[in-house]
Amino acid sequence: MKKKSHFHIEPKHIFFFLTAVCLILIIVSSVSNSVNNALRNGINTVLMPMQRGLNQVGSFVFGEAENLAELKRVQDENAQLSEEVAQLREDNTRYQLQLAELDKYKELLDMKEQYPDFETTGAHIISKNSGNWYRTVKIDKGSADGIQVSMNVIADGGLVGIVTSVETHTATISTIIDDGRSVGAMAQLSQDPCIVTGDLLLYDEGRLLLQHINKDDDVENGYKIVTSNTSSEYLPGILIGYAEGLEIESNNLTKSGYLIPVVDFAHLDSVLVITTLKETGAAN
């Protein structure tokens, strides 16, 4: 009959073999990205359509439950917001006039546009890193849609994070609340520099670290913190959040505190990727 394919290898030997495979993979993938990318591309392409579907199911189920509870609150909020919109519309008209005036002055001064309108492309979050140590997400657009590594990602008018790896039809975003991720930032008004850093434990209270501010700099609680002009990865002027709980550190040279992000990371299902890359001066 058929030749028997049942042969026996000691589990111990398989274990050592697979351990070696893992170690080689770890070393290879930390040295070069090509193996990593090839595997990622393959797996992600196969699983992406299913994931997108499942994510919609999941969002729908969890979303519906939440929706019902939210309805009442939203109705109240709606009434309140309508009033606010009217007020803001009025303000807006005034600001537009002022902006036009500003443009005129800028033209006179021959100043370069510092905060140009960034081109963005919308994307859905299809998968979230379920490991409770990390805050990374996957979106349904990749290199085929023009997404590149280190593009900035925003939502709700605030900074979400940065693209860390790209496959053909998907990309991974590391959010600013991911532990250890730092963003070069500054106070919007005074342009005094600071550093915003994600911290896993702090984020349970909805906060990020805000550090390295000179003691005498004009950064106070409640100030808007935006991405810095000098950051190497982030485009300037993107709102990150608001400063809170600032205190002078024991070295009496710097102050530090917390940052409350504007983005609601608990309810994030679509984002905007800014397709403009930061110009660092180096040719890419």
């Binding site: 398989i14 930390s30 990593n36 499942l54 969890f62």
Partner: protein, 174 residues
Amino acid sequence: MTWKRILFYVVTIVASFMVQNNLFAASNLIDTVPNLLLIVTFTFGFLRGKTDGMLIGFLSGLLLDSFFGETLGFYALVYMVIGYGNGLLGQVFYTEFINMPVVLCILSDFLFNLIIYFFDFLMRGKLDILSYMRQVVLPEIVYTVLLTLVLYKFLRFLNTKFAQFEKRSAKKFV
């Protein structure tokens, strides 16, 4: 191990991965998510032995690595060790011991999180191990144990059914 069984594992792993990363995590980036792939790994490791355990662990980990890991192979190694370890435990303890799944779950999940803490967070100088235990590890263990209580029997049922199916089809070919 037959190709059919490997296919069965791959399907189970991919399905679990999807449920874990898409369904559970769908609406919220912050909430604690139970570690479903770990449940699959330790359950089959315990029920089927070292070889199956480490294979499932390896594939589960590799899937996670290829999705989110910065370095390929790290999760694969961790999950594989857990699968293998549960295979060893399976040789020592009775399958029917009533609280066994819970004990396995706690041990596996604790080990899993400890390894991640040690190799990533501690290495970056985050020394506050107790806070991490309380805020990250403990919630995950609780959720994972709860899910284990629901899922263990189902996975064991799947395992038995598949073993029967294997036997039947083996007979057919001989």
